[in-house]
């Protein structure tokens, strides 16, 4: 689960990581009021969970409360990369001397936490990492021991932070690492971490991603989940614990298991079709869950055909079949279903669907070919 910038900064602030003064606004009036409070130039930042927000016009510097109101009234309600802007973070403008990159995430290969820092932070950090990898410094943290001061100090030396700021940088590193571990984060990132002209370290932006598997330990974060921006399909998928990602194609895919779901999308593409989504019903799904998955696809107007590929292991084919049967009874749809069932209780499942009007396939390849050709006919 990814946190908004304002949520990340709230947490930073609780951990004594310095952030610019500011507050959240939902209306142009609030934006004006907050700018009056700050009493100086401010930055308006759209709170949307997408990358490249700045380049898309979601970050604006303004000089007066009236200008803030004016700009806010333009941004609020607009869409950035298809996400509606509902909230703005209004912050004092900070006078920047240097932009640093500082982040930490999981090093899967070593099984440790990795700290990454660069003296040249900002939006182009990935470009810098690609073109000048020698400007990127890394420190691995033993997960049992945690971050030690000397490691933060070494990093400060590496990225040539002025000596008078070492103490602040070490304290900030410790804090960010505590945020990272206390919150079960898989990413905690400050980019840019700026050195102000007044020689202070300030976190100008913040990004935190929480491990979904650990969310049960953080009910306070679950309450903050931003559900206002979800599509009806996404909201339905979340309710039924379905792993669902919408794509641009026209063949809906319902599969058990993430690997198999990806392989199913791959073969659709390989056979010349376009998947409309990634959808993994997980292991041992109930008929209700299957029906919910089908509902999601049937309400996606781009979907022309549905491919159901189930390899029963923990998942029982008869339970899946019941979900399909229920859906067919509830919906009066013309969309063709191509079905391939193998594995646990395969015979029972096929029996349940014997009288339904479905296209069946014995192999994944056959199923994919049929679905692709149907989708092409129907789009033609």
């Amino acid at each position: 689960m990814r946190l908004h910038e304002y949520q990340s900064k709230d947490i930073f602030s609780n951990y004594q990581i310095p952030i610019p003064r500011g507050r959240l606004a939902s209306t142009p009036e609030e934006a004006k009021l907050i700018t009056e409070e700050i009493n100086g130039p401010v930055v308006l930042k759209a709170q949307v969970l997408v990358g490249g927000r700045g380049k898309a016009g979601g970050i604006r510097l303004v000089k007066s409360p009236d200008e803030a109101e004016d700009v806010a009234s333009k941004i609020l309600g607009e869409r950035i990369k298809d996400i509606p802007v509902r909230r703005l973070l209004i912050e004092e403008a900070v006078s920047i001397q240097q932009e640093i990159y500082f982040g930490m995430t999981v090093d899967r290969e070593k099984g440790e936490t990795l700290l990454i820092a660069s003296a040249e932070g900002g939006v182009d950090i990935e470009e810098i990492a690609r073109l000048s990898p020698e400007k990127i410094f890394r420190v691995n943290i033993n997960p049992l021991l945690g971050l030690r001061d000397f490691q933060a100090r070494n990093l400060a030396t590496d990225i040539e932070i002025p000596r008078e700021l070492w103490r602040s940088f070490i304290a900030l590193s410790r804090s960010l690492y505590n945020v990272y571990t206390d919150l079960d984060a898989t990413l905690a990132e400050i980019n840019p971490l700026v050195i102000t002209t007044g020689k202070r370290l300030v976190a100008l932006d913040g990004k935190i991603i929480i491990d979904d598997n650990a969310l049960f330990r953080h009910p306070e974060l679950l309450d903050r989940r931003d559900i206002t921006i979800e599509s009806p399909q996404e909201s339905e998928a979340r309710k039924f614990c379905l792993s669902y990602i919408k794509l641009d194609g026209n063949i809906g895919c319902l599969v058990n298991g993430a690997g198999l779901a990806m392989a199913t999308m791959d073969i659709i593409q390989h056979k010349g079709g376009q998947p409309a989504n990634f959808l993994d019903i997980g292991g041992g799904a109930s008929s209700e869950k299957v029906a919910a998955a089908l509902r999601i696809m049937l309400t996606d107007k781009q979907v022309k055909t549905i491919l159901i590929n189930i390899f029963g292991g923990i998942t029982r084919c008869d339970e899946v079949a019941l979900g399909i049967q229920q859906t067919l009874a509830d919906f009066d749809t013309n969309i063709p279903f191509v079905i391939r069932l193998v594995g646990t209780n395969e015979a029972e499942g096929k029996q349940i669907l014997a009288d339904s009007n479905l296209i069946t396939a014995d192999s994944l390849e056959e199923a994919a070919e049929k679905a692709v050709s149907l989708s092409q006919e129907l789009s033609a």
């Binding site: 290969e109 997960p143 193998v342 594995g343 994919a368």
Partner: protein, 289 residues
């Protein structure tokens, strides 16, 4: 012989009285796996699976009483990290963790500890291991397997079943199939399992089933080109998947362009590995390598 497990394996099942543990214990038993003990704290003294398997309160006692030398873990995710550590502490050399959903932070700590012990951890979030017809440790359906000389190592569950099913349809059997687990932090990676297959007389060829994310397939490719004499076929799921939701810039910097299906397929091909386009192509390619 197979790798990791065989008919000599004395298997213990942690979480044997839970729904999943109990069901799959029955499946493993029917398959002929030598199940010597179950563990559920508080249920010590019971007998399960038709009175065939004794239940103990702790792994320590189970090992002392039955000489169990492998364990498979079905306990819920909140308790699974502890279950792995308990097994390692009791000196069990092979631990297979089926449980999915263990927090990364927990697994980092577990891995840091067990990597220093003489323990092989498979998983978590693994379908387990099957060595037809000797033993099955985990949840891989036995109906889709038959004895043979092809080794399979995979990060996926049902996708692996799909491949095994296609092999069986084509009359091709498996020496051992190992699901290393789909989580970011797992006990053993492709390389370790490949090196076991390389040393296994029963295994002639190996299938590696990977997916997007991480760098393990790329490193496996390097391992193959340096250390493997046996031919390997690869399959990478996720070519049509949307670009991974990256872990911020940090994730992008770590991966450095690696981790995509393209990168993995290229690395494997450079290592001389034939890469299939879809699972059912594998049985066709296999005789040609």
């Amino acid at each position: 012989m197979s790798i990791l497990i065989d008919s000599e394996t004395r298997l213990m099942i942690q979480g044997i009285t839970g729904n999943e543990g109990n069901f799959h214990a029955g499946q493993m038993l029917s398959y002929g796996t030598n199940i010597v003990a179950g563990v559920t704290p508080g249920k010590g003294g019971d007998w399960v699976l038709g009175g065939k398997v004794p239940v103990f309160d702790s792994v320590k006692t189970a090992v002392e009483m039955t000489g169990a030398n492998a364990t498979v873990i079905f306990v819920p995710s909140r308790f699974a990290a502890d279950a792995v550590l308990e097994a390692a502490d009791a000196g069990i050399p092979l631990i297979v963790c089926i449980t999915e959903g263990i927090p990364v932070k927990e697994m980092l700590r577990v891995k840091a500890v067990i990597d220093r012990q003489n323990v092989m951890l498979i998983g978590p979030n693994s379908p387990g291991i099957i060595a037809p017809p000797y033993a099955k440790v985990g949840i891989i359906p036995s109906t889709i397997t038959q004895k043979g000389s092809v080794g399979i190592v995979s990060r996926s569950g049902t996708l692996t079943y799909e491949v095994m099913y296609a092999l069986k349809q084509a009359g091709i059997g498996t020496s051992t199939c190992v699901g290393i687990g789909g989580d970011p932090i797992i006990g053993n990676n492709f390389r370790n399992i490949l090196s076991h297959f390389e040393g296994d007389p029963q295994t002639d060829k190996v299938i590696l089933i990977g997916e997007i994310g991480g760098q393990d397939e790329e490193r496996a490719a390097a391992f193959i080109s340096e250390h493997m004499t046996k031919p390997v076929i690869g399959f990478i799921a996720g070519q049509a998947a949307p670009p991974n939701k990256r872990m911020g810039h940090a994730g992008a910097i770590i991966e450095g362009g690696v981790g995509t299906a393209e990168s993995k397929i290229k690395a494997l091909k450079n290592a001389g590995v034939q890469v299939a386009n879809y699972p059912e192509e594998i049985p066709d390619l296999l005789p040609k390598i």
